[in-house]
Symmetry: C2
Subunit: 297 residues, 2 copies
């Protein structure tokens, strides 16, 4: 299978490498507006051929994988629509789904039936194709959000491509996807960015940061994530994210009110609730408790 990879960063490179390792992709044609990223991907053996543009990249491809920040995807879909083969499958790895489905519907016309929206729950704060790994998806969820118009054979091909990388595929409604990931991914990223800024901006910010321990390190790890990617995610999932942010701020308000009135009983109850839920959590598609590798996005 000839794969056109549009966007040659950590996630795209990892997908190309994982699909190749599984025997799903035999040739990978790479395009990125940063031509050097494609060259590095070729040097790493993750990409076979550099394309000079979107049209050239997708022309002969059996499958087109969009792996840019989600904000760049609508324009890419518009650019590829008339060049992609009728029987090719187009898919993506975007962290938001509703907006991309609508953009694909608008851009692809009758080829929209061959668009399979997907979101692998894997990633890293590190970025660039030099940090890509063919094992990134092992034991991870890949959410697919097909519509009633999605062709079954196209969906099956993408599902088996991801299953071949050790991932577990979970179908979901695009709107439900966006609500769930607003809560468990987009909100934590915003909360970590905000906390990092609040601490750093204080009068003695750098002295404070010098004494930060492992709790701070883990809590803020996602604050090192790629700013462009997260700006796009935040804008694309704005409505659901504002809803989650509002709920989070209400919890912080309740906490601050309990602090203000010195209400140890209320604080203890809130902390116990949170601690109990967190201790019971399992992670990844195989329900591991702690200590798995990798990062979500």
């Amino acid at each position: 299978m000839k794969l056109a990879l549009l966007g040659c960063g950590l996630l795209g490179g990892s997908a190309a490498a994982a699909w190749r390792r599984a025997g799903t992709a035999t040739t990978v044609i790479g395009f990125d507006r940063d031509a050097d990223a494609v060259r590095r991907g070729i040097a790493l053996g993750m990409i076979d051929v550099a394309a000079g543009g979107v049209a050239e990249a997708v022309a002969g491809a059996d499958c087109v994988l969009l792996a840019t920040p989600v904000g760049a995807m609508p324009a890419l879909l518009g650019a590829l629509a008339s060049h992609v083969r009728d029987d090719a499958v187009v898919t993506d790895v975007g962290s938001t789904k509703e907006g991309i489905v609508e953009a694909a519907r608008a851009a692809l016309g009758r080829k929209f039936a061959r668009f399979v929206p997907a979101h692998p729950i894997a990633g890293a704060e590190s970025h660039g194709i030099e940090n890509a790994s063919s094992e990134l998806f092992d034991g991870r969820w890949v959410i697919v959000t097909p519509t009633t118009e999605t062709a079954v054979d196209a969906l099956r091909r993408i599902e088996s491509a991801w299953t071949g990388c050790g991932a577990i595929v979970e179908p979901m409604d695009a709107r439900e996807h966006d609500r769930i990931f607003a809560a468990v991914s987009h909100l934590p990223h915003l909360a970590a960015f905000a906390l990092m800024r609040a601490v750093a901006a204080g009068a003695d910010g750098s002295r404070c940061l010098q004494f930060a321990g492992a709790g701070f390190r883990d809590f803020t790890r996602i604050a090192a994530s790629d700013a462009t990617m997260w700006r796009d995610v935040a804008l694309a999932n704005r409505k659901a994210l504002v809803r989650e942010l509002t709920m989070y701020r209400a919890e912080l308000d309740a906490l601050q009110a309990a602090l203000d009135r010195g209400d140890g009983t209320a604080l203890l109850r809130m902390f116990e609730d949170a601690s109990q839920v967190r201790r019971g959590m399992r992670f990844g598609a195989f329900g591991r408790r702690e200590g798995e590798d990798g990062h979500d996005a």
Copy 2:
């Protein structure tokens, strides 16, 4: 040196084990209101003798180490004051310092000169003496907050006890300590507790949590921390914590405002600020970048 350990949990057990390994403590007398914790500590070889009460524990001790949640420390200081030897050193491992210094001054009278307030920046979400480790303090900061009344020989003994465990001792004013740790430790814990509650309390909370990835896992790890310990910390450092919480909420307000008006430029700038600071951070007393073990408290 005969050490009286008051509070036999993860931190107390680790301190006793580390001080013993370094040759600082030769005999450890343990007391905890949970007698079973003392028995487990004896079985683990971390405690030598169980004391029936505070008076019995401290009577012959060269050093008394308070390792309970900070809320229990004022009463303990009151209980030990008339039984501790005049030349003994009393110290603690509490995460807040100003309140404890005041409680010690009130409880210990002329013996206050022999009280050395200390805070090792080490800990874990796991708790109980069975999770204690003699290596917990290796490469970690231990903050000491002596007053002008503190006896130099007492301070030196505690400093060298911690240095002997591989820790780096940093002296600091108690108020500055509380301000710094409100920012880099107490606020992140509150933020993680609040986010955990906000997500879990949603209509489909448990379905959301099923798909949480490694970012959520790391961000919320500290939300599994001991609720009683953190209630005490929050109450003891209420003023500084409310100030930090107010700054954090202002950052979240700014973020939500940028989202509401769809201002990608502002979002990008905020995320870039945070990401840049986070990427430049070093952790622990030796300035390791990432991947060190253990957790702060």
